[in-house]
């Protein structure tokens, strides 16, 4: 399969998944969302009439005017139709894709806007900051530790690392997070237990404060996953070290170190890159709980809080945005695998 076709094929697949997720979301939460929108319109009309200058003969006339107005606006926004008609679903999917989801009832941005799009866009960078940094740290540690233990296959270090990887893989990340809070926040008082900075976002020191609050979540994410990472890297490397071309290089007298770090690692590159991408994508999903435990002000925390108060517009918007992030990460991973792997390119 050529590069162009792969790209086309992957993009098509990505959009298919995106629509599937959107469709499920809209089907599941559509009618609740309709009810909330109707209520918002009703309140708006009543407010306008109360504030407005229109005079009415009696209360009957007033209420019939209000009802007409409500029905009229329902019609404009398509709320008079049943929740599951095709045109309605299409309309709804478009509004989710443009994040045109109205206002949140419970949340605002740091600057007071309650528009769902503003709220979500304010949170996305913080989630990306934490989880991308964590993934980079883990990857670097994993590659170095992994190549080290691969070069010492069967040694004490190798065995310890494998055992550690198996153990750390069985622990729920959010549970380790709670333990870290007990150790570093409660017992040692080194880091704050709540990762939301206290200083105002307009403060010049806000970013430094944010980084300080990010330390504990970051350490936790790294501790939980670096062992498994090193194990994966080791697995790929050992497979390659047993290949014929490596044996050939060895007989040519190239040093072990050079073989390991330049030849073997380069060949293990594509599968490692894929694993990095998939891990990053998966960590966005796990972010909901990890962020909630640490109170890190990102998308996951917002999701957790939105579920608590059942803020449907926010839930729908976040599901969409996190799916997009997830798919883009997987897409980039696929493409980079194709670009990195000489065998894929050649054929």
């Amino acid at each position: 399969m050529g590069l162009g076709r792969t790209l086309l094929f992957r993009s098509f697949n990505m959009f298919l998944v995106l629509f599937a997720t959107l469709f499920i979301t809209v089907i599941l939460l559509g009618s609740t969302f309709d009810e909330l929108q109707k209520e918002a319109i009703r309140n708006q009309v009543i407010e306008e009439v109360t504030q407005g200058t229109l005079k009415f003969e009696n209360s009957d006339e007033r209420s019939s005017y209000i009802n007409d107005q409500i029905q009229f606006r329902y019609k404009i926004s398509g709320l008079d139709q049943d929740s599951f008609t095709p045109s309605k679903l299409f309309h709804r999917i478009i509004s989710v894709m443009t994040l045109d989801l109205g206002k949140s009832h419970y949340f605002t941005t740091d600057y007071g806007s309650s528009n769902v799009r503003d709220i979500i866009f304010e949170k996305v960078p913080k989630t990306l900051l934490l989880f991308t940094t964590a993934t980079i740290c883990v990857t670097v540690i994993g590659i170095f530790l992994g190549s080290y233990v691969a070069s010492k296959e069967g040694s004490w270090w190798d065995k310890t690392n494998s055992t550690f990887a198996i153990f750390s893989n069985s622990f729920p990340t959010w549970w380790v997070a709670m333990l870290m809070i007990i150790i570093f926040a409660f017992t040692l008082h080194i880091f704050p237990a709540r990762a939301t900075p206290l200083s105002s976002p307009s403060d010049p020191t806000y970013f430094i404060d944010l980084l300080y609050h990010m330390t504990l979540p970051l350490i936790t994410l790294v501790i939980v996953s670096f062992g498994a990472w090193a194990y994966i890297v080791r697995y790929f490397l050992i497979n390659i070290l047993n290949e014929d071309f490596i044996h050939a290089k060895r007989t040519m007298g190239i040093s072990r170190r050079k073989i390991l770090y330049s030849h073997a690692l380069r060949n293990a590159g594509p599968p490692i890159a894929t694993a990095v991408g998939l891990a990053l994508a998966a960590s966005f999903g796990g972010a909901i709980i990890t962020e909630a435990v640490f109170d890190w002000p990102g998308m996951g925390k917002l999701y957790y809080d939105a579920i608590g108060v059942f803020d449907v517009p926010i839930i729908i918007g976040l599901t969409f945005v996190s799916t997009v992030l997830f798919l883009i990460t997987i897409f980039i991973t696929d493409i980079s695998y194709t670009l990195l792997d000489p065998r894929v390119k050649g054929s």
């Binding site: 697949n13 990505m14 298919l16 998944v17 599937a20 997720t21 499920i24 979301t25 599941l28 939460l29 198996i166 153990f167 893989n169 069985s170 622990f171 729920p172 959010w174 549970w175 380790v176 709670m178 333990l179 809070i181 007990i182 926040a185 409660f186 017992t187 237990a193 709540r194 497979n239 966005f284 999903g285 796990g286 909901i288 709980i289 909630a292 435990v293 999701y303 957790y304 579920i307 608590g308 059942f310 839930i315 976040l318 599901t319 996190s322 799916t323 997830f326 798919l327 997987i330």
Partner: protein, 456 residues
Amino acid sequence: MQKKLLLGLLRSRRGIIGVTIIAFLLVLSAVAPLIIPIESYFRWNDPDYWINNPKTVAPFWTNFFGPKEFEHLSLDKNDAKVSSESSEGTRVDNYTFQVDMQADSFPDDIMFLYSVKYGDIPPVLQIDINRPDNNTFTIYYSSLPPTNNINTSFSDRIFSTNENIKESLKQYESLFNYSISGLEPQVVIFSDTNKPNVLKGMYQISERFYLFDNYSSVEDAGLILGGKVFGIMGTDDLRRDLAVGIIWGTPIALFIGLTVSIFSIAIGLIYGVIAGYRGKRTDETMMRVNDIFYALPTLPLLILLSITFGRSIFLIIGFILIFSWMGTAKVIRSIALQIRNYQYVEAAKLMGQSDLMVIFKHIVPQLLPLTFASIAIAVPAAILAEAALSFIGLGDPSLPTWGQILHDANTADAASRGIWWWIIPPGLMIALTGLAFFLIGNTLDAIANPLRNKNK
């Protein structure tokens, strides 16, 4: 092959560790209903059931590492020495509780429980405390409230904060070498008269009921001394015994894990075999669908599903199933692609056997060993998924699961309050269960997976 699997499992050290842990968990699940009352399972979220326990206290064994804190003591009628005497129409029922006080700290509070059936003349309750220094404090003397109904019994509990008790203790002020005004009654009762420390030794605490007619009778009497340590795992903010929650969580976790993994592997097996065996268009389409499921964001969709459809344990198992069969389907399909071309399969086809026959008679049996390995490997993910849902607060509200205990702990800010005994055990149990199944699955997979053996 099955025998080879079992032997291989028991020959590897990791396999044995895994089997041992799971055997322990199974035994724990089996004896759970025998060692703890079944009511604690159904009333896990009912605060009334746990009322006699202390609130948020550490396990008793923390006493080994620091000052000896008072261990929570809850005594009922059966622990009491009962005596009865009567004179001139008055009967005195006496319930005496022995308390061996050896702690370095005072109890948090004292509760006297009773339940009495009586008629027109209310009985009188007197509480005496006989101390190791041979002083006897009468701390309470009062008649029970009048009642009209002789058929129902009157139940109540007297707390150490009771005004009557505070007043009564004032008359013993002179016995103490220091001022006891302002001290809590439970402190005064257990204090040394010479210095403000605990007076260690044997206390006799008696509830005396003066009954004035024949149909009056004492139904129940009890004594609770609120401690700072309790049980082997302590209690949480709702006074629940965490050891009970941990034990009940075991069968539930095993049930969820095994059900989800068995069904998801079965689905994946059938799906993968059909795709691999039929090949061509069918394979292409089925793998496309598989890719789509693979790329769906699991946790957000799990959340949406349980918000919309409900949170019963069976629904949750169904939801997790939707997102857990794809991996197996992919692996099985690639192996089925190979098996399809084996000569004996071709022979069976030439002999005119139907596709269904070939699949279930010739291909699936080949895949069974790998299936067992996959089932074991799939368990931890299922347990983690349920724990994650529970942790968010979307678990089955009627069950005590480990995830739910951690959810309650997180809601109560247990981590930043340093309540480690509320957090460590449930998480360790999740990890331990996951680890055991992972070890077994990994060992089986090393024996049974042809793809893996080829790479070696």
